[in-house]
Every structure is written in structure tokens, then in C-alpha cells.
């Protein structure tokens, strides 16, 4: 390893954020759990004991087997099976993959939309600013889940036939649209401060479009807050996706996310096959909790006022 | 002099942090007599405000008094239980903070705030307290005081608000007022009015004042004695006229030299090079030595305590009677 890299590593190891990380057991555990989830989601096709979507592997005689430690359990299905004989552990791994994909994609969508609108609102000002922020106010007074439901309902009505294949994108759009406001507010605030600084005026003289130079200077300044918002937002987005899927308006059952699995399992709750719904539920909560813990820690670590 | 009203002995204030303990105030000792005005000057971060906060028992955690003692009327108050200390605050020691805009609760009328302070400390009925509130407002120069008791802080200007704050500090007739930068946040034109008011009121009521400020002009006008603080220590103390006209410690010399009104008859303003050390990097020996124009070998290794220097006392080896 070359010396400069070592020095850089040493510096980041000694930085306040890293210090606070090393001294926060919750954050460490949360990070490990999160990395495990992301890893097993990305590599689901390789790490999962079965491929639950390969119909040739399914055998109805394996249906509704309890977890392996209960009487009647089968060690090749550690967490039991559902009514179609699919291995619960494998469906969870594949489901987490879809939940994470929707969550991260919709957060990226929100972030790009919100940052862009915030920059424009803050920089252009006037009636455009007033309009954007008014829309933000109104939207913020409605819960995200309702807006997502509405966008989803609209998309269903407008695209009745192709809905199945577009479900993923519709979901990302509806969750993404419901979450841009916080980014826009944060970025707008910083933009308003930076706007009147001299370098922005100077940029004009050099013929650089001020919006370009603003983006270059504003974005690094809002990186911290935006990162915190985004982290916690991923957790919210995953919950929203799970909720929509649970309500039956999310991803189609052929590509089940954790929410879909819980919805499917819910039907077996009363007949005693609790594992079909409980394990995906636990997986969802553990994943969201890990992300929330990371977000909480990040917020405290990046906020010097709260640091002692 | 009789027994001092307030006596601070060897006060040391520490902040434990994850990179070690910071000593913000160290070996600070001074007294204030009844009715006396002590000015405490120094740059921001010198430990003036912390000393004030320690006296009224409102040091914010993790800050703590690590050593020394504070006596009011000969009685130790630095380790009193919470409730006993609360009874002293406002009743025997009042306080005035820097920012009058932020010192008043925006959701309560000034009448309510005065009455609750008065009734907390004095056995008065609601009506008597209300009357006292109006009297106090009149005394601090608020026009149409009776009518304005129902008004909220945002309905007053900055100067008027600081008058209200002074009225609140005097509400229970304390023996001592700790005024922490009482004029810094105000317009220059109003600063003089507030200082004059504070001076008059304290003289009338026989109240002693610990006036914390970085403004030497205010001290010159108001204080009887002055203590100069640097990097958490007192470097010079003495009667105000002596310290201003014949400063002993090189830091005080520099401080006086940087004030236009005081050096009007001199040729030019003097500037002290460098800046005060950070708390985690206070140099050994005399903390001022890296900036001192008269530094010599001993300053680098040995820390000077306050020693007699003419009519004042200074923490500087230049005044050591017994050379090492």
C-alpha cells in the first residue's frame, strides 16, 4: 500500500465521524446487519438455498412445512415453506432484494428531484420559488403513503394493461414523488445563503452560468444533511413499499417483496402457519431498524451542536 | 474592608472531553465587597462568562467546578444542593445576560414574568407583586409602565427589553448582580444608556455588580476595580484607574493600547500579535509568553501567580521581588 493511501486512511480513521462510529456499538451492529442484508440481497441467486421462482424446483408435497426446529421440519427448508412449497428463507432473500431495490431507487429519484427543485427554487426565487415551496407545503401536509397510493392508483387507471410489467417503475415513481420535499427545503435554504456570495456574482463575469457554479458549491455544503435525510428516507421508502405491497397495490406476486410475502403469509395466520408471515416480517423490521439506527447515528455524528 | 460579599478562591473549571480534560478556568481568586462594581475583562474564551456561570451555579454540563470554593457572605455556595442554590439565584444573586432579545420568554407578558419572579422569592400577594412590577418597570425607565405590563417581549425594542431584563434581575432586590456582556448585543447609542441605568440602580439599591465584558470602555466608566482574564486565569487586578492608566501586565498594556478612547493622547494604537491559545493548547509557563513582547527565559517554564505590582497585582515575573 502506498504511503499516501495509508495517511488518508489514518486521517479518516481519526476523524470525528469515524471516532463516533467506533464508539457507538449500535451503529456498528446496524452497519454489519445492513451490509449483510445488502450482500445477501445482491447475491441472493447464489446464497439462497433454493430458487423460489424456478417452478421446476417447486414441489407441492413440500408445502407449509414448519421451520426445521419444529416437529415435521425439514433441514433443507430452515425457516419452513409456504403453501406452494417455496423455501421461506430463499423468498426472504429474494424479497429483500426487491425491497431494497425499490427503496434505494425511489430515494435516488426523490433526491434528484428534490435537490434540483430546491436549487431552482432557491436560485430563481420569485414566483417560481413561491410556487414550488407552496406545492411542497401542501404535499407535506398529506402523508406520503396517501400520495403514493394516489399516484399508484392513477398509474393503474392510465396503464391498465401494461401495469404488471411496469409495476416496479410505477412503485418507484409513486414513492419517489412523495418524498422530494425534505431535500428541496434543505437545498433551497443553503442555496439562498450561497446565492448572494461574491463568487457567484464573480462567476457571471467569467461567463459561467451561475446555476452551474452554485451547484458546485451548494451541493458539497448540503451533502451531510442530504445524506442523513436519504438514509432515514430509505427506511421510510422500504416501509412504504412494503405497505403498498401489503395492500396489494405494490409489486406483483410473481416478484414478491417482503411486503408481498407478509401479505401472502397473512392468510395462513389463523390456520397456525405463522412462520409464513412472521419471518419475512422480522426480516423487514430488522432491516429497517438497522437503517434507522445508522441514520440516527449519522445525524448525531454530523451535527456538531449535539456532539459533546 | 469588611468581610467581602462574594469571595472566589482558587476556582478551577474543567470540561471533560473525549480528547482529555480541558481546563477553562484555573486558579481564579477575587472578592467583591458590598455595593462594589468589579469589572472582569478579557477576550472571548478567556473564562469570564464561565466564572460568572459558576457563581450562580449554572455551569452547563459537562462543565464542572473541579477545585476551589465560592463564598457568599462567608458561606460556601458552590456545593449547595439544587434547591438551596435555586433560592439564592434571583433572591441574593441576580443575573443579566448578553442577549435581551433571547432572555425573555416570548410567550409570557413581561408583567407575568416579573410577577412570577417576585412571588417566587418574596412573600407578596398577586396584587402587591403586580404593583412592585410596575414600580420596577418605572424605575428602569419604561414609559407608561402600568400599561405595558401586559405586553409581550416582541413588542419592545432591544434597549427596552434589556431594561426589562434589568428589572427582572433586580426583582427580589439581590445583593449581587452578575452582568454578562449586558450591552454587547445592543446598538452603540443605547449601550451608554443601559450602563448608566445599571450603575444608578445598583448605587441606589446598594447592589454589588460583577460586570463581565470585553469592552474596556464600559469598565472604565462603571467599575471600581477590574480583573483582567487571559486563557482562564486572572493576569492582573487592581483599582480601575490604576489598571487603565498604568497597566502592569504586558497583556493589559496591549489591551489598553488597543482601545482608541484610552490612547487618544498616544501616537498610535498598539496591537497584540497572535491570538489567545486554545484551551487544549495552553503553553507551559506563563500562558501569555508566546505573544509577550517582554518575554524572558523564566516565563517559558514557570507559571507566575498574582504578585504585588505597585497599586495593582499582576501575574508576571517582571514584578517578582525575589528573582529566581
Amino acid at each position: 500500500m502506498n504511503a499516501r493511501l495509508v495517511a488518508a486512511l489514518r486521517l479518516s480513521w481519526d476523524s470525528d465521524v469515524a471516532y463516533s462510529f467506533r464508539h457507538s456499538p449500535y451503529a456498528i451492529v446496524a452497519a454489519i446487519v445492513f451490509v449483510l442484508f445488502v450482500g445477501s440481497a445482491v447475491f441472493a441467486p447464489w446464497v439462497a438455498p433454493h430458487n423460489p421462482f424456478d417452478l421446476s424446483q417447486l414441489d407441492l408435497s413440500n408445502s407449509l412445512k414448519p421451520p426445521m426446529w419444529l416437529p415435521g421440519g425439514d433441514p433443507s427448508f430452515p425457516l419452513g415453506t409456504d403453501d406452494q412449497g417455496r423455501d421461506i428463507l430463499s423468498t426472504i432473500l429474494f424479497g429483500a432484494r426487491i425491497s431494497l431495490a425499490v427503496g434505494i431507487a425511489s430515494v435516488l429519484f426523490s433526491m434528484v428531484l428534490g435537490v434540483a427543485l430546491g436549487l431552482i427554487a432557491g436560485y430563481v426565487g420569485g414566483s417560481i420559488d413561491a410556487f414550488i415551496m407552496r406545492v411542497a407545503d401542501v404535499q407535506l401536509s398529506f402523508p406520503a403513503i396517501l400520495i403514493a397510493l394516489l399516484v399508484d392508483g392513477l398509474a393503474r387507471a392510465l396503464l391498465p394493461r401494461s401495469h404488471e410489467s411496469l409495476a416496479f417503475y410505477v412503485l418507484v415513481l409513486s414513492i419517489g414523488v412523495s418524498g422530494w420535499v425534505q431535500y428541496a427545503r434543505t437545498v433551497r435554504g443553503t442555496t439562498l445563503v450561497e446565492k448572494n456570495k461574491e463568487y457567484v456574482q464573480a462567476a457571471r463575469l467569467f461567463g459561467i452560468h451561475p446555476l452551474a457554479i452554485m451547484a458546485r458549491h451548494v451541493l458539497p455544503n448540503v451533502l451531510g444533511p442530504v445524506l442523513v435525510i436519504a438514509t432515514i428516507h430509505i427506511a421510510t421508502a422500504i416501509i412504504t413499499e412494503a405497505t403498498l405491497s401489503f395492500l396489494g397495490v405494490g409489486v406483483p406476486p410473481t416478484q414478491p417483496s417482503l411486503g408481498t410475502l407478509i401479505r401472502i403469509g397473512n392468510d395462513f395466520l389463523f390456520s397456525g402457519e405463522w412462520w409464513v408471515t412472521l419471518f419475512p416480517g422480522i426480516a423487514l423490521v430488522v432491516m429497517v431498524l438497522a437503517i434507522n439506527l445508522l441514520g440516527d447515528w449519522l445525524r448525531d455524528a454530523l451535527n456538531p451542536r449535539l456532539r459533546t | 474592608m469588611n468581610r467581602p460579599l462574594l469571595e472566589v478562591r482558587h476556582l478551577r473549571i474543567e470540561f471533560p472531553t473525549r480528547r482529555g480534560v480541558l481546563v477553562a478556568v484555573d486558579e481564579v481568586s477575587f472578592t467583591i465587597g458590598p455595593g462594589e462594581v468589579l469589572g472582569v475583562v478579557g477576550e472571548s474564551g478567556a473564562g469570564k462568562s464561565l466564572t460568572g456561570a459558576a457563581i450562580i451555579g449554572l455551569l452547563e454540563p459537562p462543565g464542572r467546578i473541579a477545585a476551589g470554593e465560592i463564598l457568599l457572605d462567608g458561606e460556601r455556595i458552590d456545593r449547595l444542593p439544587h434547591e438551596a442554590m435555586r433560592r439564592i439565584r434571583g433572591r441574593r444573586i441576580g443575573a443579566i445576560f448578553q442577549d435581551p432579545l433571547a432572555s425573555l420568554d416570548p410567550l409570557f407578558s413581561i408583567g407575568q414574568q416579573l410577577v412570577e419572579t417576585i412571588r417566587t422569592h418574596l412573600p407578596l400577594s398577586e396584587g402587591e407583586a403586580r404593583k412592585r412590577a410596575v414600580d420596577l418597570l418605572q424605575e428602569v425607565g419604561i414609559p407608561a409602565a402600568a400599561r405595558r405590563t401586559g405586553h409581550y417581549p416582541h413588542q419592545f425594542s432591544g434597549g427596552m427589553r434589556q431594561r426589562v431584563v434589568i428589572a427582572l434581575a433586580l426583582a427580589a432586590n439581590p445583593q449581587l448582580i452578575i452582568a454578562d456582556e449586558p450591552t454587547t448585543a445592543l446598538d452603540v447609542s443605547i449601550q451608554a444608556q443601559i450602563i448608566t441605568l445599571l450603575k444608578r440602580l445598583c448605587r441606589d439599591h446598594g447592589t454589588a455588580v460583577m460586570l463581565v465584558t470585553h469592552d474596556m470602555g464600559v469598565i472604565a466608566e462603571t467599575a471600581d476595580r477590574v480583573a483582567v482574564m487571559y486563557a482562564g486565569r486572572i493576569v492582573e487586578t487592581g483599582p480601575v484607574a490604576d489598571v487603565i492608566n498604568a497597566p502592569k501586565h504586558p497583556y493589559t498594556v496591549g489591551l489598553m493600547g488597543s482601545i482608541p478612547s484610552i490612547v487618544a493622547d498616544r501616537d498610535r494604537l498598539v496591537q497584540i500579535d497572535g491570538s489567545m491559545p486554545r484551551l487544549n493548547a495552553i503553553p507551559p509557563g506563563c500562558p501569555f509568553h508566546p505573544r509577550c513582547p517582554r518575554v524572558f527565559d523564566r516565563c517559558l517554564h514557570e507559571r507566575p501567580d498574582l504578585m504585588d505590582a505597585g497599586s495593582s497585582r499582576a501575574a508576571c515575573w517582571l514584578y517578582d521581588k525575589v528573582p529566581a
Binding site: S141, F142, L149, A157, A242, V288 | G94, L107
Partner: protein, 328 residues
């Protein structure tokens, strides 16, 4: 005062009109209502006649005007799925949703505010730390999962409480209530906890952080310096100042309880408006969707208005008239 209220009412009306426009556009541009109502075997004459009867041949703004007038009278047409007037369907469902939402809101406020105040005043006590950790778990638990877990434990395993439905309801005029029968009350317990828990944790976290924020302010420090009693500082000055932001966000949260009841109603098959709406979304039952949208918007706008007025009562800085602000 009047000017302030008028301005807020005007804003509320604008928001309602925008929502009405969205709902109207749903009607107008999504699907073909004539086709939907006549089915596949209609003659072109039928089409023309119905188009005229429905007013669909009139200009856009006339149609929108009629839509708004009808909406004000509660008329949103006929459900495509059930074939009954939407107004009748909603009227049947409103009591169930409102009873559930109000119980959940009361639970959230009654537990959330005291817990938040406590955690703000004693941030380092073990109880506050425990509450905070639990609240993070609460925020991470999706509402529907709370419902499922409660059903699993209290209905399936223990068999103490019913798992779905409203139980026995008593009809008081057009209002049906579950509060007057034993099974009705039993049925209310699990849905109330499910719906209220998330809001409870949010309110607790909010009150705590606002309380910590206020306790850092200069006027609280000055109140301490004045020697006021802890009780007067904490519950007089700090709590009152905390209330200003708490009222706003709590108000908005209460609105979202009604929206979140969609999920709870689905889990417990609670016969409220949310269940009606989610079925409408699945079947693209536009009139029901539009009506629900307008109704929810009305609830939100009303809550916002009340919040603004409360704000005005609590915070003297908002009272625009300044009698004798002559101290300047």
C-alpha cells in the same frame, strides 16, 4: 385576527379547489365514463344521449363547476364496483373510521406527550433511554406488521381479543357506534393500538427533541438565573414553548391517522372508509377514489385551519395587532 383567519380560510379553499381539480381530472381523463356506464353493447345514439345527460359535451370549466357544486352537496356519482351512490357508501363507513381514528389519536397524545416531556427533561435517565430505543423500534415497525403481530399474539395464540371486524354495533340515527357494546369495545382495542403506536412514537420523539431544544434557549437559562422553581421552568416556560411546534406537527399527524387507517382497516377488515378506498384503488373505482380524496383533503384542510388558530392562541408573536408597540 379576522384578516388572519380570512387569509387562512382562503388558502384552505384554494387547496380544496386544487384537490377537486385532481379528482375531477380523474373522472374526466381516466377511462371513459360513458363506456363504463353503458357497457360494450351500447348504440352510438345511447352514447350521445348519455354524454349529453352527463354534461360531458359542455366546456371544461362548466363541467368543473358542476363537479364542485355536486361535491359540495356530497354527490360524487355512483360507485362503478358496487353500483350504489358514493355518498351513501361513504356515510355508512365514516363512523367506523372516525371512532377508530379518534381512539388512536387519544392514545397517541395521552401517552406520547408525557413520555416525550419526560424524555426531554431527563434525557440521561435509563427510562428515557429505553423509551427512545423503543421509539426507534416503533418507527421501524410498519403499521400493518404491528397489526399482524398483535393479531398473532392476542387473537390467534391467546384468543383474548377478536382479530377482525367491529363487533356488535349500535345504531344511533345514521351513526353506528361500537363503543356501546362489549364486543364493539373489545374489537376496538387491537386496531387502536395498531393505528396509534406509530403516531405515539413520532409524537414522543418530537416532543422530546423540541423540549431539549427549548431547554437550551437563553430564556430558559435566564429563567433559571431568576431562581424560578423547576416546575415553573419545565412545565410553565419550557412546555408552553415546546407546544408551538408540537401543535403543528401533532395536528398534521392526527390527519395522517385517518390516512393511515387505510392500512389498519385492511389488516383488521375494519369496515371503514379506508377499506372502501383500497378496494376502489384495486378496481379503479374512480368515483369512490375521487370522493375519498376530496373528503380526506377536507379533513386535512380543516385540521390545518384549527392548528393555525391554536397557534395564534398560543403564540402572541402572531397576533398581528400590536397595541402601543411604541417602545421602539
Amino acid at each position: 385576527m379576522t384578516a388572519f383567519i380570512l387569509r387562512r380560510v382562503l388558502q384552505a379553499i384554494v387547496v380544496m379547489l386544487v384537490v377537486a381539480l385532481v379528482a375531477f381530472s380523474l373522472f374526466q381523463y381516466v377511462g371513459d365514463p360513458v363506456q363504463l356506464m353503458l357497457g360494450q353493447f351500447a348504440t352510438p345514439e345511447d352514447r350521445v344521449r348519455l354524454t349529453h345527460e352527463l354534461g360531458l359535451d359542455q366546456p371544461f370549466y362548466v363541467q368543473f363547476f358542476h363537479f364542485v357544486v355536486n361535491a359540495i352537496h356530497g354527490q360524487f356519482g355512483v360507485s362503478l364496483r358496487i353500483g350504489k351512490p358514493v355518498s351513501v357508501l361513504l356515510a355508512q363507513r365514516i363512523p367506523a373510521t372516525l371512532e377508530l381514528s379518534i381512539c388512536a389519536a387519544l392514545l397517541a397524545l395521552a401517552v406520547g406527550i408525557p413520555a416525550g416531556v419526560y424524555a426531554g427533561l431527563r434525557p440521561n435517565s435509563w427510562l428515557a433511554r429505553t423509551l427512545l430505543s423503543l421509539s426507534l423500534l416503533g418507527v421501524s415497525l410498519p403499521t400493518f406488521l404491528i397489526g399482524i403481530l398483535l393479531i398473532l399474539v392476542f387473537a390467534v395464540i391467546l384468543g383474548w381479543l377478536p382479530a377482525f371486524g367491529r363487533g356488535e354495533v349500535v345504531h344511533l340515527g345514521w351513526w353506528s357506534t361500537g363503543l356501546l357494546s362489549k364486543t364493539g369495545l373489545m374489537s376496538l382495542i387491537l386496531p387502536t393500538i395498531t393505528l396509534g403506536l406509530f403516531q405515539l412514537t413520532l409524537i414522543m420523539r418530537l416532543v422530546r427533541s423540541e423540549m431539549l431544544e427549548v431547554l437550551r434557549t437563553d430564556y430558559i437559562k435566564f429563567a433559571r438565573a431568576r431562581g424560578l422553581r423547576d416546575r415553573a421552568i419545565n412545565f410553565g416556560h419550557a412546555l408552553k414553548n415546546t407546544l408551538v411546534p408540537v401543535i403543528t406537527i401533532t395536528g398534521l399527524q392526527l390527519g395522517s391517522i385517518i390516512a393511515f387507517s387505510i392500512i389498519t382497516e385492511q389488516v383488521f377488515q375494519w369496515p371503514g372508509m379506508g377499506l372502501l378506498f383500497i378496494q376502489a384503488v384495486s378496481y379503479v373505482d374512480i368515483p369512490v377514489m375521487a370522493a375519498y380524496l376530496c373528503l380526506i383533503a377536507l379533513v386535512f384542510v380543516t385540521i390545518n385551519l384549527i392548528v393555525d388558530l391554536l397557534y395564534y392562541v398560543v403564540d402572541p408573536r402572531l397576533r398581528a395587532d400590536r397595541p402601543g408597540g411604541s417602545g421602539h
